[in-house]
C-alpha cells in the first residue's frame, strides 16, 4: 500500500477539484458533491500501536476529525458516510460498548452509516443503546442516520424505529439518494445477537429503493453504503451487484477490509457503478468527487448515462 504525504495529497486534491470541474460548478443547473467515507473502523479510536506492520502509527479518530474539517473547508458541499462495522476490535469497544464510537462519529459530523455484521456483536439491545447514547448527547451536529434496505427489523421495534431504508439530501444543484445493504447473518452473527432482525436478498431489496430514488425522489446521484464485501465466494458482493441492480452510481464498500487506491468501475444497464473501499480501522479516509449537470438535451430511448472519470 502506498503511503502518501498528507500535505501533498491535499494540494493535489485542491488542484484536481479546482480545474476540471469549474465550468460545471459555475452553472446554476449544475452541482458538485464530495463524498468522504470510512468503513470497518472497528473501534480503532487511537492510532494503531507498534507491531501492526504497515498500519503502525496510522489511523486515530482525533486525526480523522482534523482531516475531515480540512477537507470540508476545501471542497464545499460534502457528505460524510460510513459502510458499517464501527464496532469490535479494540478494548474501547469492550469497555464502552460502541457508545463512544457512535458519539465520536456524531462529533465528526457523519451524516449516515449502515450496519455491518460486527455491529450486532453485543446483540440488538446493546446496538440500540449505543444509538441512543449518540442521539442523547448534547452536540451541535445532528445525530446521524442508520440506513439499510435489506434487513427486516419488524421483530426488533426499538431498532426498526432508528433505521431507514434510504435518505435523500438536497444541496444546490445536487440531490443525493443514499441507501444501504448488509451481509447475511448466517455464519457471521449468532442467532441470539440478531433476534427480531431478518436478512433478505440485498439485490431484490435494493431494486425498488433505487427505482424510487431515481423516479420518485428524482435524485441525481445514488450512493450505496454496502457491507456485502468487495468480492465474496457467495452470490452477493459489491463487484457482482451492478449486474443485478442498475442505477447505483457509487458503492462505498466495507466488510472485506479491501485497500483500494483507485476505484473499480463496473458497467451496468444505466451507466456505470463506481466501487470504492478504504481498508479498515480508520487508517484511510475515502474521497469521491461527483459533478452533476442538468438540462442536457439528449434523451434518446434507453441510453445509459455515463458515470465517467
Amino acid at each position: 500500500m502506498e503511503r502518501r504525504d498528507f500535505i501533498a495529497t491535499l494540494g493535489a486534491a485542491a488542484a484536481a477539484s479546482a480545474v476540471p470541474l469549474r465550468a460545471a460548478a459555475a452553472s446554476p443547473e449544475s452541482g458538485r458533491i464530495t463524498l468522504l467515507h470510512t468503513n470497518d473502523t472497528h473501534s480503532h479510536i487511537e492510532p494503531f500501536g507498534p507491531g501492526n506492520g504497515a498500519l503502525t502509527g496510522r489511523g486515530g479518530v482525533a486525526r480523522r476529525a482534523t482531516l475531515i474539517k480540512q477537507l470540508r473547508a476545501a471542497v464545499g458541499t460534502s457528505l460524510l458516510l460510513d459502510a458499517g462495522d464501527t464496532f469490535q476490535g479494540t478494548p474501547y469497544f469492550n469497555l464502552y460498548k460502541g457508545r463512544l464510537d457512535y458519539r465520536l462519529m456524531r462529533m465528526m459530523g457523519y451524516h449516515a452509516t449502515t450496519l455491518g455484521n460486527h455491529d450486532f456483536d453485543n446483540g440488538v439491545d446493546m446496538l440500540v443503546a449505543a444509538m441512543e447514547s449518540m442521539e442523547a448527547m448534547n452536540h451541535p451536529n445532528a445525530p446521524f442516520a442508520f440506513i439499510n434496505c435489506n434487513f427486516d427489523f419488524k421483530g426488533a421495534p426499538h431498532l426498526e424505529k432508528r433505521m431507514r431504508p434510504y435518505m435523500v439530501r438536497e444541496f444546490p444543484g445536487v440531490k443525493v439518494g443514499i441507501t444501504g445493504v448488509g451481509v447475511a447473518f448466517a455464519g457471521l452473527v449468532s442467532p441470539q445477537n440478531h433476534v427480531g432482525v431478518t436478512w433478505r436478498d440485498p439485490y431484490e431489496s435494493l431494486k425498488p429503493v433505487v427505482k424510487h430514488l431515481r423516479e420518485t425522489e428524482k435524485v441525481d446521484l445514488v450512493v450505496l453504503l454496502s457491507h456485502l464485501g468487495y468480492q465474496m465466494d457467495g452470490a452477493y458482493d459489491d463487484l457482482r451487484l451492478p449486474a443485478h441492480v442498475s442505477g447505483v452510481d457509487a458503492i462505498i464498500g466495507g466488510h472485506t477490509h479491501t485497500f483500494m487506491d483507485v476505484p473499480v468501475r463496473v458497467p451496468q444497464a444505466l451507466g456505470e457503478t463506481i466501487i470504492f473501499q478504504v481498508g479498515f480501522g480508520g487508517v484511510n479516509l475515502g474521497r469521491m468527487d461527483f459533478a452533476v449537470t442538468h438540462g442536457g438535451v439528449r434523451a434518446s430511448g434507453g441510453t445509459s448515462i455515463p458515470v465517467e472519470s
Partner: protein, 265 residues
C-alpha cells in the same frame, strides 16, 4: 427516472427533462497518519476515556519471551493451539471431567501476541469477542469430520487433543487423525468437546459442531479463560511459551490444492 427513458413514447414526452449527467472527479484514499495533527476538541473529549482504558487494559499480565503467533500461510497457528489447549483445560476444570478435544476458529483470533511483557489489552486484541466456551458431545467420527471441515474451509483450524496428518497426493489425499498421544480415535465412541458458542451456533461454517449433544454452557468467555491462564502463569512465576508445532502435518502441494478448493478429503 432513468428507466423511464426505456419507453420511447415517454422519452419523447420527457425530452425537455433530460436526465442529469453524473461525472466522477477525483477519487482517492487519503492516509490518516502522523502528519495530521489531532483535533484539539476531539483529543480533549477522548482523554478521560483513554485514561480509563489505560488503567484497566494497561495492567501487566505475563511475560511471553517468544510471543505467540498465528503463523503465515503454510505455518502452524501456535497461538491458536495455545487458545485451544487453554480452552480444553478450562472446560475440563469447569465440569470436573475430561474433555478430549477442543476446536476454535483462526478467524476469531484477531491479533498475535508479541514478544515481551503482555498486558490485559493484548488478550483483548487477540479475542475481542464475547464468545462463551461451551462443551458438547460428539462421536469420534464427528470429531474427525469437524477437523475435515476446518481443513477444507480454512486449511486447518486450531485444535487441541489430536494430531492431524494429510498424506498422499492432492488428487488422492489421505486424512489421518489420532489422539495427541498417537492412539487411534474410535469413530463410535462419544467424547466431550470444547468450542465456542459462536462455532456451535453455526459461525464460520463448521456444520458438524451443530450436531453436538448435551450442551453445557460454561458461562466463561473464551477471553476470560485466556486472561485467567496468563494470570495463573504469572502467579506461579512462569512465562507464557508457545505449544510445540506438529499438530497439522499437511504437505505444501496439498495445502495449496486445499486453498484452491481442489481437494476432496
Amino acid at each position: 427516472m432513468r428507466s423511464l427513458f426505456i419507453v420511447p413514447l415517454l422519452a419523447t414526452l420527457l425530452a425537455a427533462q433530460a436526465p442529469p449527467k453524473v461525472k466522477a472527479g477525483l477519487v482517492q484514499s487519503i492516509p490518516v497518519n502522523g502528519s495530521i495533527p489531532d483535533d484539539p476538541a476531539m483529543a480533549t473529549y477522548l482523554a478521560p476515556y483513554a485514561a480509563k482504558i489505560k488503567a484497566s487494559f494497561g495492567q501487566p499480565l505475563v511475560k511471553a519471551p517468544l510471543g505467540l503467533f498465528r503463523g503465515r500461510p503454510g505455518e502452524e497457528n501456535l497461538l491458536g493451539y495455545w487458545v485451544a489447549d487453554t480452552m480444553r483445560a478450562a472446560a475440563a476444570k469447569s465440569i470436573g471431567m475430561p474433555v478430549a478435544f477442543a476446536f476454535t476458529n483462526s478467524g476469531g483470533l484477531r491479533a498475535n501476541l508479541r514478544r515481551g511483557q503482555l498486558k490485559v489489552e493484548d488478550i483483548y486484541e487477540v479475542m475481542p469477542f464475547e464468545n462463551e466456551v461451551v462443551i458438547l458431545e460428539l462421536t469420534g467420527a464427528e470429531v474427525i469430520q469437524v477437523i475435515r471441515e476446518g481443513l477444507l474451509h480454512r486449511g486447518g483450524e486450531p485444535c487441541s487433543g489430536v494430531l492431524v496428518k494429510v498424506a498422499g497426493t492432492a488428487e488422492k489425499p489421505l486424512l489421518t487423525v489420532t489422539w495427541a498421544d498417537g492412539k487411534p480415535i474410535d469413530p463410535a465412541a462419544t467424547v466431550r468437546v470444547a468450542t465456542t458458542d459462536y462455532l456451535y451456533t453455526g459461525g464460520d461454517s463448521i456444520p458438524t459442531l451443530k450436531k453436538g449433544r448435551n450442551l453445557v454452557r460454561t458461562g466463561l468467555t473464551l477471553r476470560q479463560v485466556l486472561l485467567d491462564r496468563c494470570a495463573a502463569l504469572a502467579k506461579a512465576g512462569k512465562e507464557l511459551l508457545p505449544p510445540a508445532p506438529g499438530r497439522y502435518l499437511v504437505p505444501p502441494e496439498i495445502r495449496e490444492a486445499i486453498r484452491e478448493k481442489k481437494v476432496r478429503l
